[in-house]
């Protein structure tokens, strides 16, 4: 059994239960008070395909504009902001789910070619393709006489 190439990790500020309330990171750190927003850990699938690993994440309500995907130091992070776009007069009568943003990160192995990662968003499902890095052929090093 080889090591999985993408290991989900609980994001640092989020406890392992997967959900917490925290201020929205980055961007909105303006003078206005930052509203508390709920952050969820989205369910994911990871499978092997011919081109590499494919990661699917359920992100209902996330748009291409509100989705941020980042790779830094072998860590892939997804952050999707959700705008419920409800009319202001809307009054909640019955609730089975809460609105919130989505955050999850993964540790990528060296087998993933970071430069060729692609992603698409389709009906609220994010698909990230993590191509396998092509193994470089062993190279002979010539030893010269001084």
């Amino acid at each position: 059994m080889s090591e999985p190439e993408a290991t989900p990790v609980p994001p640092a500020p989020v406890p392992p239960t997967g959900m917490t309330t925290q201020p929205v990171p980055a961007q909105s750190q303006s003078t206005a008070p930052v509203p508390e927003r709920t952050v969820f850990m989205p369910p994911i699938d990871i499978y092997d395909s011919d081109e590499g690993l494919v990661l699917l994440a359920d992100l209902p309500g996330v748009t291409i504009e509100s989705l941020e995907i980042q790779v830094q130091d072998n860590r892939l992070t997804l952050f999707g902001r959700v705008n419920p776009a409800l009319p202001t007069e809307a009054r909640l009568l019955h609730q089975e789910f809460e609105w919130g943003d989505f955050l999850r990160s993964f540790i990528l192995s060296d087998e993933v070619d970071h430069d060729r990662i692609t992603a698409k968003l389709n009906h609220g499902v994010l698909e990230v393709v993590l191509p396998r890095a092509t193994k470089t052929a062993p190279r002979r090093i010539q030893v010269n006489k001084e």
Partner: protein
């Protein structure tokens, strides 16, 4: 419609419950109705001035795979969530997303104009507009007195 209200402070617990549900779903339960109140998809209902608004999270469903019908005050949502084509289960390293056929029936609130229902489906969020019927004005009934 099963009414199950959650307070915000219960958020963590609810997420834990979700995880448990996911676990339970992977186990064949002898009593499938054990957790009846957790239905798929989760639905929120809002009241607006002119309509009721029903919102459901349905990531991964395309409008073609979604079947909405209304009859006799019952709204039926039906669909299927498929896995990726041609990928065998043993190629999965992680499997958390729900898969399969689902159906949910909801009783419409009273005073809804079934003829004018409309739905929009954007980024995996379904919004169904249920326009209210105009409120019926009280009608005066003439009283005819007989000659005495």
């Amino acid at each position: 419609m099963a009414v199950f209200r959650w307070r915000h402070s219960w958020g963590n617990l609810r997420d834990l419950e979700r995880e448990f549900d996911r676990l339970l779903e992977s186990i064949k339960m002898p009593f499938p109705g054990l957790r009846l109140e957790r239905q798929y998809p989760p639905v929120n209902v809002y009241e607006l001035d002119e309509e009721f608004l029903l919102v459901a999270e349905l990531p991964g469903i395309s409008p073609e795979n979604l079947d909405l019908t209304v009859a006799g005050g019952i709204l039926t949502l039906k669909g299927e969530r498929r896995g990726p084509e041609g990928i065998l289960d043993d190629r999965f390293r992680r499997h958390e997303r729900l898969r399969g056929k689902w159906q949910r029936q909801l009783t419409l609130p009273e005073r809804v104009d079934e003829e004018r229902l409309s739905a929009e489906f954007v980024n995996g969020v379904l919004k169904i507009h249920l326009p209210k019927l105009p409120t019926v004005k009280p009608r005066h009934i003439p009283v005819v007195g007989g000659e005495s």
